[in-house]
């Protein structure tokens, strides 16, 4: 775990995503850095992307996002991402969390979806080293993210997802 990996030695970041929710297009983007000698993968960053927009901006925000989902029933207006909302569907009042995107689009999340997303979150990060996670947070810029997204084909229009 404590092996020293030069930050600038392998600047190429491999991005892969986990679909937390297919219908609402919520992805967990994981940026990896691979040590070529030991073939070990270090997680460099975790970010939530909804449709084509970054919702969270670093690891602390992403953890908050997950906790707000996990504490579905206890959320209130102090939340940062998800706000509780009641809707009427088929003359039945339904409780759900609502996430507002930058262009004003609202995404509603039900209780079971929230639980499934938290379960997937736990599965998707098993077995990886978190040793380098908090370091990249300081180094990240818009340019590093753009080059990483481009080299992994996320800016390509016809990429099968």
């Amino acid at each position: 775990m404590d092996e020293i990996v030069n930050a600038y030695q392998s600047s190429e970041i491999i991005i892969s995503h986990v679909m937390l929710n297919n219908d609402k297009n919520i992805k967990l983007l994981r940026g990896f850095e691979e040590d070529e000698r030991t073939k070990k993968r270090y997680i460099r960053n975790i970010v939530i992307m909804v449709e084509s927009e970054f919702v969270t901006s670093n690891i602390a925000d992403t953890m908050l996002f997950k906790e707000e989902l996990a504490l579905f029933n206890f959320g209130d207006s102090q939340n940062k991402y998800f706000f509780p909302a009641t809707r009427n569907i088929n003359k039945e009042s339904v409780f759900s969390l609502v996430l507002t995107l930058g262009d004003g689009k609202k995404i509603y999340i039900t209780r079971s979806e929230a639980k499934a997303m938290v379960g997937l979150w736990n599965m998707s990060l098993q077995g990886y080293s978190f040793a380098r996670l908090l370091e990249f947070e300081k180094e990240q810029t818009l340019e590093t993210w753009t080059t990483a997204l481009e080299s992994n084909g996320y800016l390509q229009l016809d990429k099968p997802e």
Binding site: S52, F54, S57, Q140, L142, L155, L157
Partner: protein, 275 residues
């Protein structure tokens, strides 16, 4: 007795004949030797070729920064000998604009991703990342395609020159360094005409160039190949990742600083033969 006389005669004849041959041979050898010694040296014929480098009055290749611009300048001005004014200077100025520009065009095959991250000081940084083409590369490819088209199809020299100028003027609205020149709110067509009149200042107002430019704006069928060549240039264009952080400031490009007739020098083709 007769036999002896006959043998003697025969021997004598042989002797005499031998003597003769030797004598002759000696003479021949002597003659040959004499000929060798006396033979005159052949006249050296010297053909005087004109080996001086042919020099034209050209613009220095050091004006350009991009090697592709130099290549195109060589292809058009030197290989085709389009060195007459006012085409030469106008073409040079247009090439210089495209050589200098750093503006980009958004690719057709790109997705936009809105980025929102925290930097070292935990402040938000926002941007939109997508893929772009470099305008200069598009313009150089476009021009190369048109030159190839001219190789396959016959056009008169004057037409070739006018079409080359028009093709370059037509894409000037992509060059964002020139946007500050349009003070009033002009649309693309008006902007192109305005810039064309500024850059092609040595061409008269009634010159064919402006007529072809108007034909291009109306998508006349005789100039349809220009659109085809442009699409061809876009098709295999290199894509670069790019982050757009709101409105960007461009270096303002001054048209008056472009190369002018006074900067021409007498230069040989060697100066452009690096590539």
């Amino acid at each position: 007795m007769y036999l002896i006389v006959a043998v003697i005669i025969i021997l004598f004849i042989i002797y005499v004949s031998k003597y003769d041959i030797d004598d002759k041979q000696e003479i021949e050898v002597d003659e040959i030797l004499e000929d060798d010694t006396q033979s005159k040296k052949p006249k050296e014929i010297i053909f005087k070729f004109n080996t001086d480098v042919v020099r034209f009055s050209l613009y220095s290749p050091h004006i350009f920064t991009n090697y592709r611009a130099i290549k195109l300048y060589k292809k058009v001005v030197i290989n085709r000998l389009f060195i007459d004014e006012p085409f030469h200077t106008a073409f040079m100025q247009l090439l210089q604009i495209y050589d200098h520009t750093q503006s980009w065009l958004k690719s057709n095959k790109t997705k936009e991703i809105k980025l929102k991250i925290r930097n070292k000081n935990a402040n938000f940084e926002e941007g939109i990342s997508f893929k772009v083409h470099a305008v200069s590369e598009i313009a150089f490819d476009f021009l190369g395609n048109i030159l190839e088209y001219f190789n396959e199809n016959r056009y008169s020299k004057e037409d070739q020159k006018n079409i080359l100028l028009v093709a370059l003027v037509w894409k000037l609205d992509c060059v964002k360094e020139l946007k500050h020149l349009c003070i009033e709110n002009l649309d693309d067509i008006e902007l192109r005409e305005y810039l064309a009149k500024k850059i092609l200042k040595y061409h008269g107002i009634n010159h064919d160039v402006f007529q072809i430019l108007r034909m291009l704006e109306k998508k006349h069928e005789n100039v349809q190949f220009i659109f085809r060549m442009y699409d061809k240039a876009l098709e295999w264009q290199q894509e670069y990742p790019y982050v757009c952080k709101g409105e960007e400031e461009y270096e303002k490009f001054n048209i008056d600083n472009l190369a002018d007739k006074g900067m021409k020098q007498l230069m040989g083709v060697d100066n452009f033969s690096v590539y």
